[in-house]
């Protein structure tokens, strides 16, 4: 019988930290996934949904490869299954065949395994989800897609026991062409959501396990939940379909700033073992060029960026002094710093923003933003400093 909890005891409240710390560590883990334990959990989830275990369980290094490879595997599965049981697959067999399979008695055909539980993604998972969606909605890197297909076809062949020399499989594994990718992409647009976030959904598991383990909450759903929990403790994303499932490794890099936002200024903020990566500065989405080779940005690139946060990061990393010079920014006022005797200049940029460019006592140039109604260097300095102070020295 389900139990209802109306209030927490002091002892129960005192255990918040235990669950918080355990699941934060799980969510931020960069250890390699335990695919074997995750597969056990995955099969348990199918059982809980009254579905037969998937015939193929693919393993990938990243969430991106997992959803794309999972969908590809799902499309190609009937072909490989036909080959495995000796069916003569003609050359006209399309890769777009919808997988068919017998359902277990009592299965709900409208309910996918991934929809069995409430979704409650972590902040990092939100970033991953959008990056996956953006990647395959954009003109994807075809080499990346080919790599994923090669990995998928190899695993399909191995798990389905297909004779790799069979002409139909050779055709299938001979590489993915643009036409096939177009169809696959359409399918992915529909099917990619059939995933669960694994360790990146740790906040949700912290919530449920706390009530289960610290408060002795009872509910019939907890039996099914335990299988899903096993997945979350041992792997990253898991993509579900009737006959084919795919499990992702955890990330190999996950870096955040003090506010918990994804952040790294000299590499990816989040990366997986197949090279897929998210680039972020204080949670703002950037790209590899902005981080690794910011000097190669063009003024047009910087001006065309419609994300104000990212535009600011772009210019910061390009170098404000260089940007103001290269972009032909307008000089509004110039003066000499009272304390250091160094020159300073107020610039107006292409979009009406203003920068006071000064020389720091350490020999660096800083371009500090000031409001657009500031008209002189002196006003800019006043805006930057605490009100009413009298600067007598600087270092």
């Amino acid at each position: 019988m389900p139990t209802t909890i109306n209030e927490l005891t002091d002892e129960q409240t005192a255990r918040f930290g235990e669950f918080r710390d355990k699941w934060i560590a799980n969510g931020l883990s960069t250890e390699k996934a335990d695919f074997s334990l995750a597969s056990d959990g995955l099969n348990g989830c199918y059982g809980a949904a009254k579905l037969a275990s998937p015939e193929i369980v693919l393993q990938f290094a990243s969430p991106l490869a997992t959803v794309i490879g999972g969908c590809m595997g799902n499309i190609a599965f009937p072909v490989t299954r036909g080959l495995a049981v000796g069916t003569d697959m003609t050359s006209s067999e399309p890769l777009t065949t919808t997988p068919t399979g017998e359902e277990e008695p009592g299965a709900d055909p409208d309910l996918s395994v991934s929809q069995k539980y409430m979704e409650m993604p972590n902040a990092e998972e939100y970033e991953v989800r959008h990056a996956v969606l953006d990647t395959f909605k954009s003109e994807s890197d075809f080499n990346l897609i080919t790599d994923i297909w090669n990995e998928t076809s190899q695993q399909l062949r191995s798990q389905a026991g297909v004779d790799g020399a069979h002409p139909a499989f050779r055709r299938l594994s001979g590489g993915i062409n643009a036409e096939v990718w177009k169809v696959t992409k359409d399918r992915i647009s529909d099917e990619w959501r059939q995933y669960r976030g694994g360790n990146l959904w740790s906040s949700w598991y912290a919530y449920v396990t706390y009530f289960r383990d610290a408060c002795n909450w009872e509910n019939p759903a907890l039996e099914a939940f335990a299988h899903d929990e096993k997945c979350a403790l041992n792997a990253g994303w898991i993509w579900y379909s009737r006959k084919v499932a795919a499990i992702s490794d955890r990330p190999s890099i996950l870096l955040r700033n003090a506010d918990g936002e994804l952040h790294c200024e000299d590499g990816p903020a989040m990366a997986w073992r197949d090279g897929w990566a998210l680039w972020r500065v204080n949670g703002v989405e950037v790209d590899e060029q902005i981080i690794m080779t910011p000097e190669t940005q063009t003024i047009e690139q910087m001006h065309a960026d419609d994300n104000a946060d990212r535009q600011s990061i772009r210019i910061e990393r390009y170098g404000w002094a260089k940007y103001l010079k290269d972009s032909g920014a307008k000089e509004v006022d110039k003066a000499t710093d009272d304390v250091s005797g160094c020159p300073q200049v107020l610039y107006r940029t292409h979009n009406g923003g203003q920068r006071l460019v000064v020389v720091c006592q350490t020999g660096r140039v800083f371009a500090m933003g000031v409001p657009s109604d500031v008209e002189t260097c002196e006003q800019a300095q006043k805006w930057l400093a605490p009100e009413g102070i009298n600067i007598i020295a600087a270092t």
Binding site: A258, G341, C342, P343, V345, V370, P386, I392, A394, T395
Partner: protein, 152 residues
């Protein structure tokens, strides 16, 4: 020569140690004659003489030598010691930790002379007997970013 070029040249001179007035890492001492509101700027930290601890400030339960929140090199404005220092924090400062984003920082009552150290800027020596408030330079980009986030 464009002004921006004169600025980068000035910076290069300082960096090479050839500037007549400014030397990188040059230490500064607060004069014993300093009056309230007199301030020494150490990078983006202002150390300003105060008459007293402002109302509402709370005596730090766990005073920290680091005066600027954050884990970056630039945030490492640190006292050489807590000896002879009574530290007060604005409300919420201690719990906010590194995510503190107001301009006001700790206020120090010094019964002994102390130095504020920094990895790239020069040290600032503050004589005993002063009450000194720490304030941070305003950051337009940060304020704009916060406004954009609030508007989302």
């Amino acid at each position: 020569m464009k002004t921006i070029d004169s600025i980068t040249e000035c910076a290069a001179q300082i960096h090479r140690g050839e500037h007549s007035e400014v030397k990188p890492g040059m230490s500064v001492r607060m004069s014993e004659a300093a009056a309230p509101q007199d301030s020494i700027r150490q990078g983006d930290l202002y150390l300003t003489v105060a008459l007293s601890v402002p109302e509402g400030y709370i005596k730090a339960s766990k005073p920290n030598v680091q005066l600027v929140p954050g884990n970056t090199k630039g945030a490492r404005h640190c006292l050489d010691s807590l000896e002879g220092v009574t530290m007060y924090y604005p409300p919420g400062f201690e719990t906010a930790g590194d995510s503190w984003d107001a301009m006001e920082g700790p206020v120090l009552e010094l019964s002994k002379e102390r130095k504020v150290l920094h990895p790239t800027h020069g040290h600032v020596t503050i004589p005993a007997g002063f009450t000194v408030g720490c304030t941070y330079q305003r950051e337009w980009d940060q304020e704009q970013r916060r406004e954009r986030r609030n508007a989302d």
